[in-house]
Amino acid sequence: MLARMDTIRVALAQLAPSLGELDRNLVRHHELLEQARADKADLVVFPELGLTGYQLQDLAAEVSLRLDDPRLADLAAATEGLSAIVSFVEESADHRLFIAAALLEDGAIRHVHRKLFLPTYGLFDERRFFGAGDMLRAVPSRLGLGLGIGICEDFWHLTVPQILALDGAQILINVSSSPGRDLAATNEVGLGTATSWRTLMRTYAQLTTSFVVFCNRVGVDESISFWGGSEVIAPTGAALLSAPMYDEGLFSVDIAPADIRRERIGLPLLRDERPELQLRELARIIAERAGMAHDSTSEPGAEPGLDLAPGDRSPHPIGFRREAEG
């Protein structure tokens, strides 16, 4: 790993992938990598499924890549002296399909993150077509900083940015294909989806005292339009770069790693985190939700709810319960 750099130039490739056209999108990635290199970028981030487009449905199996695919090796080879995050459909050796994001550095695939949370509600249907990842790890990078990679919905779960930060990430990176919706005039920047994401990114940056990089695609797949609005947020929660909504382009900003130390010394939230407390309480909640322990926080007579197993009315765990008395 290189020594920490004084500044890191982050380039966000806010592109509009062509749906299902892997070869065409590969060409576009190579072009943008070259452009970023010419702009002296250190880290280039592409959006979720930038190599394939989002609304794939049954096309997913036709555009999937094994990690030993020469086309990925070619893309990695274009990252000499660079770090890049690219996203595609990964096919595992046992033929499971994942939405994946890979960290490519100095010609090699350094890390692959498989999307953990697959939204299957509202306009989303990901669980039908993809498997969910099982691993969440921060990864060291040639930038001299730990990176924490998540894909879109992963960052709608509090645990993801927190675990990544606790695991050593100093830059949290979210790659997204976020469909824009809710044009109510009362929304900040005119779009409900944008308002939500902007709030999340600033909150995560502040609570994890980390940089947050959000790269969202633009363009249209079928009915849905992707809104762009990619951002880089400082550990203070202040926005350093807000790319325009809906415009395709490569947008860059310099970040200073020294800001991480400054913020973490002044606001030592990570120092004060209590992962062991979380682990203990989570173990209890898991047992109670599974009916393997009596729900210790429910009101007497409470209806079954999120933290209360159905029918849990007695101190006896399910499977060991006696007939109700009287």
Partner: protein, 286 residues
Amino acid sequence: MTSPVAFELPPELAIDTDIARRVIGEFIRGQLGQAGFERAVLGLSGGIDSALVAYLTAEAIGADKLLCVLMPYRTSSPASRSDAEEVVRRLGTASELVDVTPMVDGFYGPETDASDLRRGNFMARMRMSVLYDRSVTWGGLVVGTGNKTESLIGYTTIFGDAACAFNPVGDLYKSQVRQLAAAMDVPDSIIAKAPSADLWPGQTDEIESGFSYPELDRLLFWRIDKRRSIDEVVALGFERDLVERVDRMVAGAEFKRQVPPIAKLGPRTAGVDYLYPRRRPGSARE
């Protein structure tokens, strides 16, 4: 600059019209591009929905790539035609006049006891046929112009005005169509006049259905977009009878909004377990 014409816009339905124009513009270009087309064709009635779609399409791809087809029937209002002609004049699009009277009267004959419903549906399907023919001669995709309100309550003709290659305004309530039309400087006379299917003189949507669009739009917004229960919308001030009637209309029109089901027999069935994007590699025309 927005048009000074007055119309009622319930506050909860107000949208950011700049974002709407941007999204719809990308959508129109995306739909055409993925299909390998540069041109578009639509039926221009003189009403606000098709006028707005003409403005949006002209903005998205250029007026020279849009063909507006005016398709009056002998009972259509002359004002409708002059309003449609004004849209064509202001935008500078290509246009064509196709009188559908011979087609409709040729089928039913001049003396007929066919109901207005049958005749209205037939007219809508003749217009659809003309548009799909012009889709070939003009080399453009047919752009739909139906709004969300009429789609939800089923005030459409299946395979008639509901038929299209894509629809840029099908997720906008009528009130939002008016708001966007005003923001795009659609002629005031079109924004201000009472919406009508224009099947017979004096017909208006609101007289025929018995409720006003702003009221209906608000009700649909709370019931559907905001998932409020019947009791909850009654508590918001809507009459229970109206709520229940509209609920029945929405449920009764479910079939108009969906692709007809295919009996499941084989291993893979379109729309069931053969699921592809409408446009994918290889599907654009050469």
